[in-house]
Structure formats: structure tokens, C-alpha cells
């Protein structure tokens, strides 16, 4: 899976100060750190742009770039897989009318925090699973770290990493992610095989016996169970 570094983001205090002070060195340092950590691309998130789909769409065609289309509509984030499908089919048809081909489209299924709406975690996962059949040729991208938004900071990493492995199994093409997390990068490169297999096992409904497992492996199993919706989330999910 292609990893896009998320750390140059206007919400970050360092970044917003650097932008305000036109401090190029600070932004460059963040870019270099992410590149060295293993980012394939960098995301430069410098705040919202104007909303004018037709103008932006035409500009995209003229300048030969690609577009990210999310499932969000004026009504907000669709509540389930079917509503996501309905939304994306409509928007992609619109893009197609503007001359943008499927190969130039990245679909964003919208990842919502597990601490806010646990049911949505599984819905987004299912959507990624069927996307290739639905719209052949499109690629996908997610804002991975949103899965752990609202979770205590020291527990965010394992949620991000586990969900990445799960999304990848279902064919996710790319993720905007915390590439400064070395374990995340390693898992994405196919490393830590036993952990990847445990997570896949939970996804396939295997009754994983955790009693003999080391603590780290057990934590991944618990996390996968929460993300699959098999266990109710709480901030103390690793403690029970």
C-alpha cells in the first residue's frame, strides 16, 4: 500500500505557525523526516479550498492531474455501505461527465473515529472490499489516523496500524498516515508476519486463542476484534 505522510497538516501547531511565519525550514524538516521514515508521498494539508466542483473538475482535466472523490454528500457521511455506494456512483458519474476517467480517480470511503461511531468502522471496511468490483480502475485513499481520533494519544498507534492491515487486506490502494510510526511502516512493508496473520484471522472469524500469546500480539487481536465490531469499544479495550 502507498503511504502518504500526514504530518504537514494545518491543524498541527508547528505547521500553522510555520505557515504564518513563512518558515520554510520547519516545513522542510517535517518533509525530510517523513521521507526518511518511508513515506511514498507527502500530504500538504494547508486548509480548505473553495467549493466549485465544475471549475475544479475542468481544471483537473486540463492540467492532467488526478482527483480524490469522497463519499461525503451535503447530508454528511453516509451511514452504511449501501449509502456510500449510492453516493460514490453518483459522484463518479458526474466526474465521468466532465471527462475524468476512473483511472484518474481516488475514492475516499471516509474513516470515522472508532470512539465516536464504532459501527462505521466496519461499514468503511466493507466499502473498500467491494470498491474494485463497483468501479473498476479507481484507486482508493483514506485518512487513516482518523480511526483513532478521540482515543488517548498513547493508544492511537495500535488502532492506526491494525486498521491499516485490515484495509490493506481488502485492497486499499493508499493511505494518508503517520509515517513517523516505524511499526506502521514495517507492517506496511509486509513485516511482522505473525501480527498480520493474527489480524487476518480475526477478520475471517477465527476464534483466536490469546492465552498463550505475548502481550503485544494479544493487544493486536483485541484491537482487531474491536475494529471488526466483535467487541464494544472503550478507551480501556486493551485492559479487558
Amino acid at each position: 500500500m502507498i503511504l502518504i505522510g500526514e504530518n504537514i497538516h494545518i491543524i498541527s501547531r508547528v505547521v500553522s505557525e510555520a505557515v504564518r511565519n513563512r518558515d520554510a525550514a520547519a516545513i522542510q524538516a517535517l518533509a525530510t523526516a517523513q521521507a526518511q521514515a518511508g513515506a511514498d508521498y507527502l500530504d500538504l494539508n494547508l486548509g480548505p479550498a473553495r467549493r466549485d466542483p465544475e471549475a475544479v473538475g475542468s481544471w483537473l482535466v486540463n492540467t492532467n492531474t488526478q482527483a480524490i472523490i469522497s463519499v461525503i454528500t451535503d447530508l454528511g457521511c453516509p451511514p452504511d455501505v449501501d449509502a456510500r455506494v449510492e453516493s460514490i456512483m453518483e459522484t463518479v458519474a458526474y466526474a465521468s461527465g466532465l471527462g475524468i476517467s476512473n483511472e484518474d480517480i481516488f475514492v475516499d470511503p471516509i474513516i470515522l473515529p472508532v470512539s465516536a461511531d464504532q459501527k462505521q468502522v466496519r461499514e468503511a471496511l466493507e466499502f473498500v472490499r467491494i470498491l474494485a468490483d463497483l468501479l473498476p480502475g479507481v484507486r482508493s485513499v483514506v485518512g487513516l489516523s482518523n480511526i483513532s481520533n478521540g482515543t488517548p494519544a498513547h493508544l492511537r498507534g495500535i488502532l492506526n496500524r491494525t486498521y491499516m492491515v485490515m484495509l490493506e487486506k481488502y485492497g486499499l490502494y493508499s493511505a494518508i498516515a503517520d509515517v513517523l510510526d516505524p511499526e506502521l511502516v514495517e507492517l506496511n512493508r509486509g513485516g511482522i508476519k505473525d501480527i498480520r496473520e493474527l489480524i487476518h484471522g480475526v477478520m475471517e472469524g477465527a476464534q483466536v486463542d490469546t492465552s498463550g500469546l505475548p502481550e503485544k500480539a494479544r493487544d493486536y487481536v483485541k484491537t482487531a476484534r474491536v475494529l471488526m465490531g466483535d467487541a464494544l469499544y472503550s478507551h480501556a479495550w486493551l485492559e479487558s
Binding site: L232, S234, A236, S240
Partner: protein
């Protein structure tokens, strides 16, 4: 061919919690069914009804709900006995007078009062602190120590103070009320933390009960989901009985304060709803509603 009803069976079971000691013990929970689905399986115990008493002379109670107790509101023991005579399965004593924003009564005085009330009663006692998380540590610890072995149901233990209160409850042989603000994820988190200090048979969940028209549907949903997660999905951290402390919420609404009949309806409708959602202990204020809810629980309505 004879018709056979398609019955569901579930893997989870609510833990049975015993409140009170000796002959006055009352058991709640123990069911492996959804609320009131007696046709689906075994309910070791039916839901129970508590009536509320306070240590503050019913300050703030509308006249029409304080009426049945008006001659005893300044004597919590007599008030509690009145509740018992009027059919309450338990008495719920709110230590409103310990509130630092109010009368700010000292912990020792509250503990002595609880000891007197529990000693004079033939039904078990539920004790709620004033809700100030710092003062509650002091007051509820003193209560737990003064009433060692009485097996009271004591709370609220919240995110900010659960460790100290759970310690006092564990050391002195009581049960605890785990209270969270209408949020199922926070509810589970507090349960997980408390389970490190107490067995599940000593924990009762209070997900907060809102009154009809003031967010009751949120309380309903949380109670309903708690029960589903515990009984249907077998989540061990969600298998404790639920207490719905709803009387005070209902009687403080403008509608209930304005009119006696409206108040009776407000309390009874909220109580019936939360009973259906999964509450095991209903805390009410009016004795007529206590009778009504007991009839509903016995299936006589």
C-alpha cells in the same frame, strides 16, 4: 401440527448482585434474557423498586410529591420506614445535605445518619453521595466504614473518583454504583477499571436516567444497548444490573412541579420506559407510582 414459538437463547447472563445482608437481602440481575422477556429464559430475579429519601428535609421537592411524607421529611429514618410501609423493595438515601454548594454537612454526620437508617430498616439501603466527586470520596468512604458488613449499594463512583470509592466499598463489604454520563463507551471503560478492584457481582451500572422530554430516549438507548451487549453478545464487562435513578429527574421538570397529575404521569411513564429498556432497580419518589410499577413488573397491568 402444534405451533412452536421461535425463541431466542443468549450466551450472556447478567450477574446477580445481592444488596443488604441477612434476612433483608434483595437480589437483582441474574437473567439471561432481554428485559421482561420472561418467555425466553430464566430470570433469577424480577426488577425491584426503591423509594427516595434525602437528608435535607425534601428541600426542593414539590408539595404534591413530598405530601405522603410531609410529617417525616426531617427524620430520614422515619421517612425511610414510611417508604418501606408503602411497599418499596429498597430505600434510596440521597446525601444531598453533604453538597459543598449547599448545607455542606460533614462526612462523619452523614455516616452516622446512614448507620442509623440502615440499622432501623427491614429493607436494604442504596446510598448516593451529593455528586461532588471530591466530597463524595470523603463521605462515601466514611459511610462504607461506619456500615461495614451491611452490604449497602453505594455511589456514584465516577471516572474522577472510582479508585478511592471502590477501595472503601471492597474493604467494607458493600456494592458500588458505577456512573457514567449516558455514553456506552465510557460506561464500559469504567466497568473495566472497576473490575480490577471488585468482582462483577458487586457492581451496578448507572448510565444516568433522563426524564421524559429531557433526553429519556438517550438513557433508553444506552440501557437497551448495554443489555444487548452483555446478554446477546456476551461482553463480560457489560453484565451488571442497571439502576435507574429517575424520580428526582422527573420531579424537577417544570411539568411535574406545575401539576400533581402531570408529575405522576411524568414519573410513571419514564419508569415504565426505562424498565422496558433494561433497568433492574427503579428509584422513584411517589409511593403510588411504586405500587404501579410493582404491578407492571409482576405483569398485572
Amino acid at each position: 401440527m402444534q405451533y412452536k414459538a421461535p425463541l431466542e437463547t443468549y450466551t450472556g447472563r447478567v450477574k446477580e448482585v445481592t444488596i443488604g445482608s441477612g434476612r433483608k437481602a434483595v437480589r437483582v440481575g441474574g437473567q439471561n434474557i432481554l428485559p421482561l422477556h420472561y418467555f425466553e429464559g430464566a430470570a433469577a430475579n424480577r426488577c425491584v423498586v426503591a423509594l427516595e429519601v434525602d437528608d435535607n428535609g425534601a428541600a426542593g421537592w414539590a408539595g404534591h410529591v413530598a405530601g405522603p411524607y410531609k410529617d417525616v421529611v426531617h427524620d430520614p429514618l422515619k421517612w425511610a420506614k414510611r417508604c418501606m410501609e408503602m411497599g418499596a423493595d429498597l430505600v434510596c438515601l440521597h446525601l444531598e445535605g453533604t453538597d459543598p454548594q449547599g448545607a455542606n454537612k460533614p462526612a462523619a454526620e452523614a455516616a452516622a445518619l446512614v448507620k442509623e437508617v440502615t440499622g432501623g430498616l427491614d429493607v436494604p439501603l442504596v446510598v448516593y453521595g451529593c455528586g461532588d466527586d471530591k466530597k463524595d470520596i470523603e463521605v462515601l468512604t466514611a459511610v462504607a466504614e461506619a456500615c461495614k458488613g451491611e452490604n449497602l449499594l453505594i455511589g456514584p463512583a465516577v471516572k474522577e473518583n472510582y479508585e478511592a470509592i471502590a477501595r472503601a466499598v471492597a474493604e467494607n463489604g458493600h456494592c458500588i454504583i458505577a456512573q457514567t454520563p449516558i455514553d456506552i463507551n465510557l460506561e464500559k471503560e469504567l466497568n473495566v477499571k472497576l473490575l480490577k478492584q471488585l468482582p462483577p457481582e458487586r457492581i451496578v451500572i448507572d448510565p444516568l436516567s433522563s426524564a421524559l422530554g429531557y433526553g429519556m430516549e438517550y438513557s433508553f438507548t444506552i440501557m437497551e444497548r448495554s443489555r444487548q451487549v452483555g446478554v446477546v453478545y456476551g461482553d463480560m464487562a457489560m453484565q451488571m444490573p442497571i439502576i435507574a435513578d429517575l424520580g428526582r429527574e422527573c420531579w424537577k421538570t417544570n411539568q411535574a412541579r406545575a401539576d400533581a397529575e402531570q408529575g405522576m404521569l411524568w414519573e410513571s411513564i419514564t419508569a415504565i420506559s426505562l424498565l422496558l429498556a433494561g433497568a433492574d432497580i427503579l428509584v422513584l419518589r411517589h409511593p403510588d407510582n411504586c405500587r404501579l410499577l410493582k404491578e407492571a413488573i409482576e405483569g398485572k397491568l
